[in-house]
Amino acid sequence: MNAWEVLVQQTINGLTRGAVFALIALGYTMVYGIIELINFAHGDVFMLGLFISLSWFTLLGVTKTLTGWQLLTILPLVFILTMLTTAALNVAIDRVAYRPLRRSTRLAPLITAIGVSFMLENLALLWKGPAPIAYPDVFPSVDILREWFGVDSAIFVTTKDVLVVGATIPLMIALNYFVTRTRWGKAMRATAQDRETAQAMGINVERTILLTFFVGGALAGAAGLIQGIYYNIGMWWMGYQAGLRAFTAAVLGGIGNMPGAALGGLFIGFLSAWSDQYISARWTNAIVFSILILVLVFRPQGLLGARSADKV
């Protein structure tokens, strides 16, 4: 591999990583936009999404690579089932741990969110054990350049890379349509801007918040499934780190800003892949967190957000 091929390969890796971060970041940014809560447990919903999707595959009797028509039936079915499960989980978390604190100080639900995060991680540890678990290779992995195009290149692009991008983009388009073009999306945007006025206009605010958690949880579940299929491995502690990176992505894009979260996710994906390659994988976390800190300190509205004044 020459230097250029390394760069291209790491950029492709970054793209797939970033797509997963983007899906998680959207859940952070939507919840923050609507109730100004850093939903610390969101990364763990992503982690559980991976394990839950594994359970759905097992329930449906899938242990080997899917072929032919199965890819068009079972795979979408597991996507939907996983997303529904994690969506319900996310809504339940909100009901139990955040909703009673809606009128409380802002730090109170953040503390409960941390508590929920620890509970979920511990449950996953008890469920799957401390060692990393193998995720079955359900999606066929084909070396596209070589096998389809006959190009002999050091760069390695597989059908799995295509799946990650091919699943993420439709989800984002659907989300964008939902938020900008539907009644519920309009209610969501109105509630995010001013909860009280939205309520006065006849919007059921609690139901809108519920919907936000539902959609965010569904996206985290999809991200978990994609992660499992792509990397074939799952750890009980992966949610904490993925969550923090995704949160960094959301902050980078301007928290509350959905296109910003998607772009931020991609950026963090590229950055972590490049850092692994060109600096050292053991410093990548420190680099991502340094960026988080720098953005929060010097440009808290994010790279895309607009500055809002403090009310006096």
Binding site: L120, L126, W283, L292, L296
Partner: protein, 649 residues
């Protein structure tokens, strides 16, 4: 039992404990000492979270810095060229605290512009970076195109940590073999720390921390510098964890980066939140409960569950290990405490205030005017000392835009010495924006603001208070969870001088200053008619009293110009009358200049010397009350066109 007796019993129990333990052969001294280190850490965190209200999710980083400072200076074996010969424990412990405090300040400095949950995430980020750095600095190779100026440098011991670390040496004290000296060492450090923390809490600095916690903007506008106050919270909180970390390192004889992960920060936060943020007793209680739970209860529960499993023949229970549920229980604990008892087991009730229910259902108790006391003599003294310059405030060409909205455009306003100037205008005219610009909350886009002849543009609000401008807010912004007296004392903050060592050691000068401050605050409360309520929480006062307390707090900063933003809003006629009399006497007796935003025309016309009228950010009129009442533009602004000249038939 009298308090003295209770104290004696506590001290006796603490002193006797290790000997009782030895006599009974319990061998718990080691575990108890370790638990005490964590309690000490939680107490340090309490300064940041409980006193100053800054959620710190990376506190273990300071613990790590303290421990590594001790480890690096005091380890005989570390392979780095920088170290390698052990220093004395008794020197290292101070260095560790100082390094922690320094890093607390360095880490705190850039983050303090950020508020609330963002600050929490930043501390978490630092908490993640420090262990990563410690791990990676155990093997540094700098490779610049084949040139390696640094190769395989071991600065921190890396993943293996530092081992061994030197113990303290005292002639005749067996730190090497016996846990009891450690117990007493930690007990002494803990007792000194609690003593210092208690004194800090009841000091000028302690009040400033609480004011920041309650309402940072209001604290800034009352003369408290939020930046330095928060930095001191970080620095002092970090220095206590520096002590704890260095003792921990020396006691354990070995440290690894794994001992300072996120989970440790969260466990410490659990201790603080469970016991009650802000309460030393609560945090000690929370720390003890969690340590016992972690070290004793979980293991015992495992035995119990297994016994139940064997007795009932349930295989799953017989093989269960409850200790694996450790973090589940910590998480559950955080959730349950926040949901059921957010003030903690021993904390003072710190609940957010419900939005004021404008007393529609409960008729407000009509209070007779109780202003009996005269103006405090010290305020009069201050007023007579040196004549204020004239004019006291001169604003020229002030402009401020928010995006496309012009809030203020080319506004001129002069407040002569000892005058009452009214500032009126329809809603949205820019009056409060004008106040916010003058008090430094919002920078102006253009224009000059001269106070007592010197420009104050670009100064922070607290610096402007120190120069002599005090204000009240349109929507009352007291420190709701502090007492009435404490609210006024925060007002005096910028006139007091006690430093951090002063607050802890309390030399005669600080004791005298504090006594004088309290005396002055009581006189002010008597003057304003709030004597007898000094120990009430500000949030429990009726509405009219809250308004007056806000004025008392402003007066406590010894202003030469007082900015009142709709002081009579929401008051009944009697309260309004009282307040008008009060403003009159301030101006008459103190020659205090007052700038007043007011919607009650009777009040504003009655007490103002001159009035400035704003409309859509533009000054449309200026003159005496009589002139303003006849001014056509003013009538137009308030009533619209077509009314200014009734056609006489």
């Amino acid at each position: 039992m009298t308090p003295a007796l209770r104290w004696a019993a506590l001290v006796a129990a603490l002193l006797a404990y290790p000997f009782v333990d030895r006599a009974l052969g319990l061998q718990t001294v080691h575990a108890v000492s370790d638990g005490m280190i964590y309690v000490l850490l939680a107490l340090g965190l309490n300064i940041v979270v409980g006193y100053a209200g800054l959620l710190d999710l990376g506190y273990a980083a300071f613990f790590a810095i303290g421990a590594y400072a001790m480890g690096l200076l005091n380890s005989p074996v570390l392979g780095s060229p920088l170290y390698g010969y052990p220093w004395s424990f008794w020197v290292c412990i101070w260095i560790a605290a100082a390094v922690s405090a320094l890093l607390g300040t360095a880490i705190g400095a850039p983050t303090l512009r950020v508020r609330g949950d963002y600050l929490a995430i930043i501390t978490l980020g630092f908490g993640e970076i420090i262990p990563v750095a410690i791990r990676n600095l155990g093997d540094i190779t700098l490779d610049i195109g084949g040139w390696r100026p640094i190769e395989r440098l071991n600065l921190t011991g890396g993943e293996n940590g530092v081992n061994p670390i030197g113990r303290p040496h005292l002639p005749g004290v067996p730190f090497e073999t016996d846990p009891v000296p450690w117990y007493f060492l930690i007990l002494v450090i803990g007792a000194l720390s609690i003593w210092a923390m208690t004194r800090l809490h009841d000091s000028r600095l302690g009040r400033a921390w609480m004011a920041i916690r309650e309402d940072e903007t209001a604290a800034d506008c009352t003369g408290v510098n939020p930046i330095s106050t928060k930095l001191l919270a970080f620095a002092l909180g970090a220095s206590f964890s520096g002590f704890a970390g260095s003792v921990y390192a020396a006691k354990l004889q070995a440290i690894t980066p794994g001992a300072f992960e996120f989970q440790v920060s969260i466990m410490l936060l659990c201790m603080v939140v469970l016991g009650g943020a802000g309460s030393i007793k609560g945090v000690i209680l929370g720390g003890m409960l969690i340590t016992i739970f972690d070290r004793v209860a979980l293991a015992q529960m495992t035995f119990f569950v297994r016994w139940v499993g064997r007795a009932t023949g349930v295989q799953a229970l017989a093989a269960a290990d409850v200790t694996l549920w450790r973090w589940f229980f910590f998480g559950l604990g955080l959730v349950l405490v926040m949901l059921l008892k957010p003030e903690g087991l021993a904390g003072r009730r710190v609940r957010p205030i419900a939005p004021a229910d404008d007393d529609l259902d409960s008729p407000r108790i009509e209070e007779a005017p109780r202003r009996a006391a005269a103006l405090p003599a010290w305020l009069l003294d201050q007023a007579r000392r040196g004549a204020a310059p004239d004019p006291i405030l001169e604003v020229r060409g002030l402009a401020r835009r928010f995006g496309g909205v012009v809030a203020l455009a080319d506004v001129d306003l002069v407040v002569p010495r000892g005058a009452v100037i009214g500032l009126i205008g329809p809603n949205g005219a820019g009056k409060t924006t004008f106040f916010n610009v003058v008090t430094g909350l919002i920078p102006p886009d253009e224009g000059r603001i001269a106070f007592a002849g010197a420009s104050i543009v670009g100064l922070r609000p607290n610096a402007i208070v120190a120069r002599g401008i005090a204000r009240t807010f349109q929507s009352i912004r007291l420190f709701p969870q502090m007492t009435v007296l404490e609210n006024v004392l925060v007002g005096e903050h910028c006139r007091l001088r006690a430093s951090v060592p002063g607050a802890v050691l309390r030399p005669a000068s600080v004791v005298a200053e504090e006594a004088r401050a309290r005396e002055r605050a009581r006189e002010l409360l008597a003057f304003i008619g709030l004597d007898g309520k000094a120990q009430d929480l500000a949030r429990n006062l009726p509405y009219g009293d809250q308004r007056r307390l806000e004025i008392a707090r402003a007066l406590a900063s010894e202003p030469r110009l007082l900015l009142l933003d709709e002081p009579t809003a929401g008051m009944n006629p009697r309260e309004t009358e009282n307040l008008t009399t009060l403003i009159g006497s301030l101006r008459r007796e103190l020659e205090l200049a007052i700038l007043l935003i007011e919607h009650d025309m009777e009040v504003v016309m009655g007490i103002s010397d001159r009035i400035t009228v704003l409309d859509y950010g533009v000054r449309i009129a200026e003159g005496t009350p009589a002139e303003i009442q006849r001014h056509s533009k003013v009538i137009e602004a308030y009533l619209g066109t077509g009314y200014e000249r009734e056609p006489h038939a």
